[in-house]
Symmetry: D2
Subunit: 401 residues, 4 copies
């Protein structure tokens, strides 16, 4: 057992840390200005392109991708990098072309795509020329139960016809999101986990209607393409657009979600570290009742509790990454569920305390804590609510799974 | 001891309940449309005027005001009405001309205003012709400590000159908010709680700069006039605009905050009841893993915990109201602090669980729970953060106050 | 609505308070000495008899009993008295002949007993000459589910034959506990809630075996007769010993548990108030790092949180008592469940904090907080674990009960 | 970074695991019988001697001691072994001669003792022939603040004279506890952390009065020598009994507490794992409302939460051990404080849930959960209450330490 990172990872982490602190965080104010100048626009702003160019030049590009075309890092090696990008959810991940949902979509194409699919969609994604969306969640059913999916993907000659309504398709408001990966049912009579398939739907295909953007606690998340509600009205795509075979959809989704959860958790830890750093500054500067609030017992207690939660949970995420690397996603299931439950919840709590330390300012856009809170809160629902995972984990622990 | 309300109150409460359910809640969708049609506008929308006319016709007007010009209700009698208005924070209180900060400002003028001040400002407020703002919190200091206030109110001949920066002046973005009550220091050398004064500043006075609106999470609260940052650049008003005498500001603020906290707490309970009603519907309709989620143990547990919290805290608020009515605000201080701490916190928790029951929809504007959450979260900071009150309450209980 | 008690109750409460503070609490040390002098003995100690004589002389006797033979108090009137007795669980209730399980047993006999049963058992109980036990819980089944009960009560001519194993029969180690009320099944084929009956079994009946005493966190609760495991080996009693008719057992148990829960909750609040009073003294006396710990933020916070919990929950218990008095136990079910869940849990938390304030002393028998903790902890299991009630309450609230 | 243990440790851990499961846990019932047969006796029971002989034969002896005379394990290597011993606090640690306070005392003597002190006291301790006590905490002062210590150690010629009152001297009721390490002040005028010294006081020295045993909740912890209150009445020992020099007491105590806290935390995790294993069995066996309680949502949730807490905290303890091994106790201070706070608290929570799963049985001595709870609860006070550490950790994190 050894808790120090290997030297190569340590070096890479330091380079990413420097980039985040020196380039990314100062650029946040620029992004806000650029967003304010173009209300209603959903594309990436110029500052993002600048950061991407700079990061790419430094070799900090596609770090998330384990195999060919990526940086070749293990989950364990990538984890601290993902954490650092979480310090700036709006600019960190995207600067390195490591932003969700593109990361998951690129992994999926790299693992399950045909050569043609890779050439057409993976390459421009890896190159940062286009973006993508993942269309799984539906408004009318509890999507935590995959058997509920109502979207249909029906074979008709050389084509598939897609019919259904999706929402929370993150990034899809961005017109540069050129390709949608859509989950639907090809066979409602197949066994429970063989009914679903995944298919590639180019944005411009006839019948694809972007209905509206959704908000998260009032935020439209315009910086990263928002969250769209999309209707697929008898949308026809070539049969070759299917990813894997018919009925592979559930298995592919599971494969995609494992690393995705690790990434989410690591970024969430970074969000919390950012907030904690802001809290430390604030608490030392702000004076109430004659002394800095850093001298109040309750503030110390909050900071200490936050530190403890972060240290313990980071180790659990790292161990999960290590398990995925050494025994595989399947055998790491308990740990993946554990961090999926525990990390966003703890981060939400840390951010709630951070808001409290900042007082009314903490609710506003003057400091990022309220918006980070909204992001963390959403993670407790993304990929299934906490409770579904808690129940599954408990069942397994009780030997009844 | 008797837990049943008196018959007159019971009757009034039923009439308010009917108005809220039959008129107000259905009007929320109309309000959203009207807001969408006029982005960037901060006035009350037409639907509000309609509801006000209708409520006034039914005698449901200025119910909050205990004395002359109001409905003559005690705090205990008004409490269940305030709770009902909380079911719809955007339309409930304003329909009855019972919305903050106007309520507190009207009480203040009714109690401490001169006849001239009443004629000029209280009457149009009671009549719903104008609205008002309360300018206390400042961005640069911890406002929970009144001695920190940096705004200056300096006598100069027949005038006072006001200089300072305020923020979180709720309602002040609305151009109909014609009058601002500003707290500042007239004498920095006076004893700690005799340094502050309050003064009336008409909106249009030279030197009043409305700097920008603030957001709470991502919400601009445009429906009720937003939250403004305001700079007072050597603003001159007649000396007769002072409320009470020099040095009375702290005492007036305390008098204003007592009932204000009760109102906030009661409305917050109504917010939670609304959310709980929504949760009950949703849980019975939504199916996951083959059965309504109302049959899941965790959902039952949440609903039960919410019910328990609401029942216990409502009683505490009611007892506090009764104490204010019978022994006065000062002797009800422990209870006022207790509800100020406990109610918003519990309501936040209840709303957080409601979001979880609604899944991703709960984050969006399709159901009101996320926006209600933001409102409840803000209450934990309004009029001082929880922790200040917790410390004061503990100190008193330990016999050291 | 009115939060002040009626004058007669207020007066009675003051007399009880004086007795508790002046007589009962100082007697605790005497009790400890008397217990230490007679290890292994389970009877009431002489000091109890002294206190009883004195209380009875002052008319403070059988205060719990609403009807004839009792004090005629409503549940609402008795509640504050029960709370005061909770300040000293070992001596408070018993001094006024208001100790569980005798209270519940006397209520049961008063309501459901025949004249003969009343003469034989109720009278000496009301007179304090004998004590009693209630034998419901069984070791081999989950007793929160009444249909699980394994004890059989079988009619055989003029007799009933009782066979089964009970435990947690509080008070039954005391040889003066002359009568046991035993719950068992008379008809396993009857509808779910008509299978059970209750029967009177005199302690000395052949076949009654007191197996052993049980401990609660190491405490044997010898002061109030401990908790016994009892086996009934084909125990024969006259048919006239049945309480009510065959199949009435479940209904009688429910009737008994309503007031019992109120009493438990009120006493628990008294336990917490006692602990809080001890904490206040301790925190003002104990010095660490140069100042009384009452000046530490965390201690203030604990005290404040405890005060808030107690005030809110007391009101909920009082309202529940009022509902029982005005609309009956059945319609007060939600509230009874609510307090059953919320009060012991909050009191446990308050006592846990009290232990922390006392440091290692808090774990020992030098201050009563650890033993009070054990008592409160046990309440979360007595009459069914929290979770059973939480589930039932949630189900009802969701409209699915 | 690597989460797998080294092969030698893995092997040793398996041998210890087998010993605990095959020998120690079955012996618990024997211990209870032997304790019951000899009430009031505080020595080790025969079963302990049997287990010790067997463990020693297998080379499982003094595993805690890093250097000469011990097993040569690092903290990281010893950690999983300490955890396993925690499965049976009464028999696990002592079987391997790894029980507190002897472990800390042996470490202390090994590091700071003179050759003579080692020969006289360390050797028989390592050999299991005698036991020892550590006399630090005092009843009259808050011992979390070392400057409060009231005991005096005064030089008088060739002797030191010790005067003071100690309590919570664990193990000291056992007549075989032949040597006491006593902390007191040699110079009240020295700098804050140079006033204290430590000295060896043989049990039989004139003036040593064992006043009484203390209980933790209702447990006397007779199995491991209880907890004594001891008065030192002008007790004279040779000057050579001083450990280190005058004024070294605080530093020695700090050195002793670091590993001690790790051990406590690891054992506490083992206690929780034991409880969780018991809960899993119970939940699968116990039927309520027609199905095993393992199928109840709330039980699954508890088990899942417990698993998550244990996994995260174990990693934090292991990392702390690794830091102590690689950068030293001083630089591991934040982590040591973190686990000191977080582990006992989480374990208490896990045990509280275990009690709830067991119902009333969980309160009794029929299952070990209530007694384990008492042990975990005590850990939140041992070596200073949580809050002292939380405050210190927060202060450091805020950059103000």
């Amino acid at each position: 057992m050894e808790f120090a990172p290997d030297p190569a990872t340590a070096d890479l982490v330091e380079r990413v840390r420097a980039f985040i602190h020196d380039r990314v965080i100062p650029a946040e104010a620029v992004l806000e200005e650029q967003l304010a100048e173009t209300p209603g626009k959903w594309n990436l702003r110029p500052i993002v392109r600048e950061l991407q160019a700079s990061a790419r030049e430094q070799g900090l590009w596609n770090l998330f991708l384990p195999g060919e075309g990526g940086a070749g890092l293990t989950n364990l090696q990538y984890a601290p990098i993902a954490e650092l990008t979480g310090w700036s959810p709006k600019l960190g991940p995207v600067s390195f072309n490591c932003a969700a949902p593109d990361t998951g979509n690129m992994e999926l194409l790299a693992e399950f795509g045909t050569d043609a699919q890779k050439t057409e969609w993976l390459e421009p994604l890896l190159d940062g020329r286009i973006r993508s969306a993942f269309c799984m969640t539906e408004p009318d059913v509890a999507s935590s139960d995959a058997t509920n999916i109502a979207t249909r993907i029906v074979r008709d000659g050389d084509e598939y016809v897609i019919t259904g309504r999706k929402w929370w398709s993150t990034g899809a408001m961005n017109p540069d999101a050129a390709i949608f990966i859509v989950m639907g049912k090809t066979d409602v009579d197949a066994p429970r986990h063989r009914q679903q398939s995944m298919i590639l739907v180019p944005r411009g295909t006839e019948g694809v209607e972007i209905v509206r953007p959704l908000t998260v606690f009032g935020y439209d998340d315009r910086d990263h393409g928002g969250h769209a509600e999309i209707v697929f009205h008898d949308v026809r795509v070539p049969a070759a657009n299917l990813i894997g075979g018919e009925g592979d959809g559930f298995a592919i989704a599971q494969a995609r979600l494992g690393p995705g959860r690790i990434h989410h958790c690591m970024r969430a830890l970074g969000m919390a570290e950012r907030a904690l750093a802001l809290v430390v500054s604030r608490a030392n500067e702000r004076v109430a009742f004659g002394r800095p609030i850093a001298e109040q017992g309750v503030v110390r207690q909050w900071v200490a509790e936050s530190r403890i939660q972060l240290e313990a949970l980071r180790l659990l995420v790292l161990k999960t990454a290590w398990l995925m690397d050494t025994v595989g996603n399947r055998k790491a299931m308990t740990e993946i569920q554990a961090i999926k439950i525990a990390v966003p919840r703890a981060v939400q709590e840390i951010l709630d305390r951070a808001i409290q330390v900042f007082g009314a300012a903490g609710l506003s856009s003057d400091v990022p804590v309220a918006e980070l809170f909204a992001g963390a809160r959403a993670l407790r629902l993304a990929d299934g609510p906490d409770e579904v995972h808690l129940n599954a984990l408990g069942k397994a622990e009780l030997g009844r799974a």
